[in-house]
């Protein structure tokens, strides 16, 4: 066997350019895998740091008003070695049990669910630090890990497919070059499996030598892309900066993936080489070899005749010859053309992704008539008003007062039976917590009957105040609702809002709701599980329940709120000056939202993603180009004899060039058609995903297709240059004499 491996090494050395290109290609493949796997490791680290920054190192949190309810959990968890830290905090109004899992992993959430099933969790609010768990690889669907994993798997699959195709094509060509050698070896007694191992040995050499270079190069590529990765992640969320993390398990995964690619790529040519019959290969040296499959392809079916007629009409004899050659060499070019199709599809996907994302950004921000939103809150309404006026002056009156002491709610009046409503409450300085709801006539009748309210007193702008003291959630944190006291005869001015949380109508659109009756809360009065502490029945098809507005409302009793908003010329400048002003205030608390900065952040994020996808496509393109070059180079050698014969019987060089161009055109169409079809399907699929949240319209990804066509033209020009280069080196008579020795 040693001598067979030596023969393989000599073959590799003999075809130096081909070997070099194969090494480059393999290095690129491993580099891409390395970059992506190491990005996954780095992203996990980003998630971990972000999770700890935003919500701490605990994994689970349980909140209850009654600390005794949590004691049972505490005792149980302390006995369980699965938990490393169990801490009960009873200092605040509510008791909080912090729990840390000792070794979080893939199934932490599922295991926790099983453990919790042994306990009663009534009146206990639970939450988990899902970002932290995700960073440990937790696969719970709710935590969004699935989406990330899905994207990761899709990208790795595409790269693996392209790698197998291109590497497979090169190994196939190498095996083809050595067919005569294999036949001779077979004739002297070498077994099929020994011959297969020769090809496997060749592919192992490529991987083993390329592996360290590829791994390092991949990390380098990742480091180069760091700023873009940062921009991409910041556009999605306020993630901390990316730090490159090299994880041993992920490195092992890269090595296994590379090995897998090699095995899959090697199998078809190795299998074929093992079956070679000595006599068929030995006969090759007398004439240009054409296999039985290729022979079948050159027979003329009705479709083939039709195609020949069309091609002859446009390209004459050169087209006919090109078409016959195209049919004959279809199989050899197949893997490379498939890889080119994948590239075209990816270009179209990138183009569609850019288009939809730009649409979404436009949609999100186009309706806005403001780019700065400032929320102020203060216990002292007079000081608050004064501060608001000063800020309006700072902004040269570009800011306007939108509302005071109010909450931003959901849907406008009038409402459907089960829909949410919204209203802004301007009370007497207290904090209402309510959501505007609607109720059907039967429920209204039921309420009135139960509470002994004369339904006739409800008309127009009167309402029943329902005192609801349930707990509610704000930004995922369970809090107790604030009781609000209204009495019969109180007046509530209510402002309607639009659907979007971002727009509010003018304050003078308020309607005054007069409280006709006051009753205690009952679940059937609210048909939704709304976090409310105040529900007001307004009329038979509307009742008002106000909810704390997020994220503006301060929770302290008595705090007043003001919102200032406007379309300002220089949002960044105003943000800075407002921030500087507010820093000097001790009693007024302010939140500034600069939507120009938000848009820039979103666009930077999208640009980051676009950049990374483009980089991925370019690398895949290089892999395809290398493979294409190797395949073309090898096939061209075999075709030199054919071109020389044609030249010797009178085909001019211009005719031969024309014939080659037609061949390139036919191969290009073969790559373009499936690539475009897949690109369109992917584009529609992406649109469908976006449609779950945004109303984006489909548009044909022309730019992606154009870039794909440029790629094909480049590949064709490259092929032609290869053949021209070879033909210049060999005279007609030398070409005719190839294989005559």
């Amino acid at each position: 066997m040693k001598i067979l491996f030596i023969s393989t090494l000599r073959h590799i050395k003999k075809h130096f350019i081909q070997t070099l290109l194969t090494f480059f290609m393999t290095i690129l493949i491993i580099a891409v895998l390395s970059a992506i796997f190491n990005f996954a490791a780095s992203f996990k680290d980003v998630l971990r740091r972000w999770a700890i920054d935003t919500s701490g190192t605990y994994h689970y949190k349980f909140v209850a008003e009654d600390a005794n309810k949590l004691k049972e959990l505490e005792e149980g968890f302390k006995k369980d070695s699965w938990f490393s830290e169990v801490f009960l905090d009873t200092e605040d109004r509510e008791a909080v049990l912090f729990v840390t899992v000792d070794k979080p992993g893939l199934f932490t959430t599922r295991i926790m669910k099983d453990k919790l099933s042994e306990y009663s969790l009534d009146s206990i609010y639970q939450d988990h630090n899902w970002e932290l768990l995700v960073s440990y690889g937790d696969l719970c669907k709710e935590n969004g890990m699935y989406a990330f994993l899905l994207i990761f798997i899709i990208i790795i699959t595409i790269i693996t497919l392209a790698s197998v195709l291109t590497l497979g094509a090169v190994l196939k060509i190498s095996a083809f070059q050595r067919e005569r050698d294999f036949a001779l070896l077979s004739s002297i007694g070498t077994s099929g499996s020994q011959i297969s191992r020769m090809i496997l040995f060749e592919s192992m050499i490529y991987i083993l030598i390329a592996l360290p270079f590829g791994l390092v190069f991949g990390i380098y590529l990742l480091d180069l892309s760091r700023s873009r990765l940062d921009a991409m992640l910041k556009g999605l969320e306020k993630f901390p900066p990316v730090e490159i993390v090299i994880s041993i398990p992920f490195m092992i995964a890269i090595i296994i993936a590379s090995g897998g690619i090699i095995l899959v790529s090697t199998y078809p040519p190795a299998k074929k080489a093992a079956k070679i019959r000595p006599i068929e290969a030995l006969r090759q040296n007398q004439q240009i070899h054409i296999s039985k499959w290729e022979q079948k392809q050159t027979r003329n079916s009705a479709l083939s005749n039709f195609a020949t007629k069309i091609i002859s009409r446009f390209f004459q004899i050169e087209g006919q010859l090109a078409y016959k050659t195209y049919k004959r060499f279809k199989r050899r070019y197949y893997p490379v053309l498939m890889a080119m199709s994948v590239n075209i599809a990816l270009c179209m996907v990138l183009s569609s992704f850019s288009h939809y994302t730009n649409d979404v950004i436009s949609m999100t921000y186009s309706g806005m008539d403001y780019n700065i939103n400032i929320h102020l809150s203060c216990d002292d309404s007079k000081l608050l008003g004064q501060t608001a006026n000063e800020l309006v002056q700072i902004s040269d009156n570009q800011l306007s007062l939108i509302r005071q002491t109010a909450f931003e709610l959901r849907n406008p009046l009038p409402l459907s039976e089960t829909g949410y409503g919204s209203g802004l409450f301007q009370g007497s300085g207290r904090q209402p917590d309510a959501v505007l709801l609607s109720v059907d006539e039967n429920t209204l009748n039921s309420i009135c009957n139960r509470e002994g309210i004369d339904k006739n007193t409800l008309s127009g702008n009167t309402g029943i105040f329902i005192n609801d003291e349930r707990t509610w959630r704000n930004d995922g944190v369970q809090e107790k609702g604030r009781p609000y006291h209204l009495e019969t005869g109180d007046i509530l001015p209510v402002y309607s809002t639009h659907v979007s949380d971002l727009e509010l109508s003018k304050p003078n659109d308020a309607i005054d709701i007069k409280i006709a009756a006051v009753i205690d809360y009952s679940p059937e009065y609210t048909k939704v599980d709304a976090p409310t502490s105040l529900v007001i029945l307004v009329s038979e098809d509307t009742f008002l329940s106000l909810e704390p507005c997020r994220p503006f409302a301060e929770r302290d009793v008595g705090t007043h709120n003001v919102i200032l908003r406007g379309m300002v010329d220089e949002a960044d400048v105003l943000e800075n000056s407002t921030s500087t002003y507010l820093d000097k205030q001790t009693q007024v608390h302010g939140n500034i939202y600069n939507y120009d900065e938000q848009i820039r952040g979103d666009q930077a994020g999208i640009t980051g993603i676009r950049y990374l996808l483009t980089g991925l496509i370019i690398i895949l393109l290089f892999i395809c180009m290398f493979s294409n070059f190797i395949v073309t180079w090898t096939i061209a050698h075999g075709r030199i004899k054919e071109f020389s014969i044609l030249s010797s019987i009178g085909m001019t060089p211009e005719s031969i060039r024309k014939m080659k161009k037609v061949e390139s055109l036919l191969n290009s169409i073969k790559a373009l058609v499936p690539g475009t079809a897949v690109g369109i399907i992917c584009s529609l699929f992406i649109q469908k995903i976006y449609l779950t949240e945004y109303n984006v319209s489909w548009s044909f990804p022309w730019l992606g297709l154009f870039i794909g066509i440029l790629i094909l033209i480049f590949a064709s020009v490259l092929s032609e240059c290869v053949i021209n280069l070879l033909m210049r080196k060999i005279s007609i008579v030398e070409g005719v004499r190839i294989n005559e020795i």
Partner: protein
């Protein structure tokens, strides 16, 4: 018809120099059947290739029908070849993706000429290939393939046929058939035939024989 003046071809292989043709002069008249013989490496095939314009001489000229073919541009050479010269090789050199019929009419198709179907059918009949005309070269025997190559050389009725060891890969029966065809082409169509062969029996059918040695014409005999 053909005039060769001071034709020389020198190959450089590494540090050594090989003189394949050494100042060869030759005149060939129209309708002649000339055999070029000699030992291996004597320059027979090189001389033939020079006449066909598929190789470039180091010095000297080749005139065919008054045209110095070495001075023509490659396109002009190709056009000249397909109209005036029929090439027949030892290893057939057919286009593998074309059928028998298509291989034979290829030079005419390259010239954009209309195919005389009657002539094609009679030629196929003459070559014994009528029933194989839709077959690919891989489906033919060596003798049949060589007959296709001859057919390709004859179809366009070139004034000059150059055959390089046309029977080198054939058995005796096929050799006899090929030689009969060449003789018929010479006698019936007055085509000039120049045939290279190392086989004395094969070259004996020619009316004029040239014996080459070490790049020179050592003997020029009319039989």
């Amino acid at each position: 018809m053909i005039t060769i003046q001071n034709l020389t071809k020198i190959y450089k292989i590494g540090d050594s120099t090989v003189i394949a043709l050494d100042n060869v002069n030759l005149e060939i008249k129209k309708g002649e059947f000339l055999a070029i013989t000699g030992p291996s490496g004597s320059g027979k095939s090189t001389l033939l290739h020079m006449m066909a314009g598929v190789d470039i001489p180091t010095s000297g000229n080749v005139f065919i029908e008054g045209k110095n073919i070495n001075k023509l541009q490659p396109s002009e050479q190709a056009i000249f070849r397909r109209r005036h010269i029929g090439m027949i090789y030892q290893s057939f050199n057919l286009i593998p993706t074309l059928t028998v019929e298509e291989n034979i009419i290829l030079p005419l198709m390259l010239d954009g000429k209309k195919i005389d179907r009657a002539m094609l059918m009679s030629l196929l009949e003459l070559l014994g290939l009528s029933e194989r005309r839709k077959h690919l070269p891989n489906q033919l025997s060596g003798g049949q393939q060589q007959r296709v190559a001859i057919g390709r050389g004859l179809m366009s009725k070139p004034s000059l046929i150059l055959a390089d060891e046309p029977t080198g890969n054939l058995d005796s029966e096929n050799t006899e058939e090929v030689l009969t065809l060449l003789r018929a082409a010479n006698e019936n169509y007055d085509q000039t035939i120049i045939m290279v062969s190392h086989d004395e029996n094969v070259s004996s059918i020619a009316k004029r024989r040239i014996f080459m040695k070490d790049g020179h014409i050592a003997l020029d005999k009319v039989v």
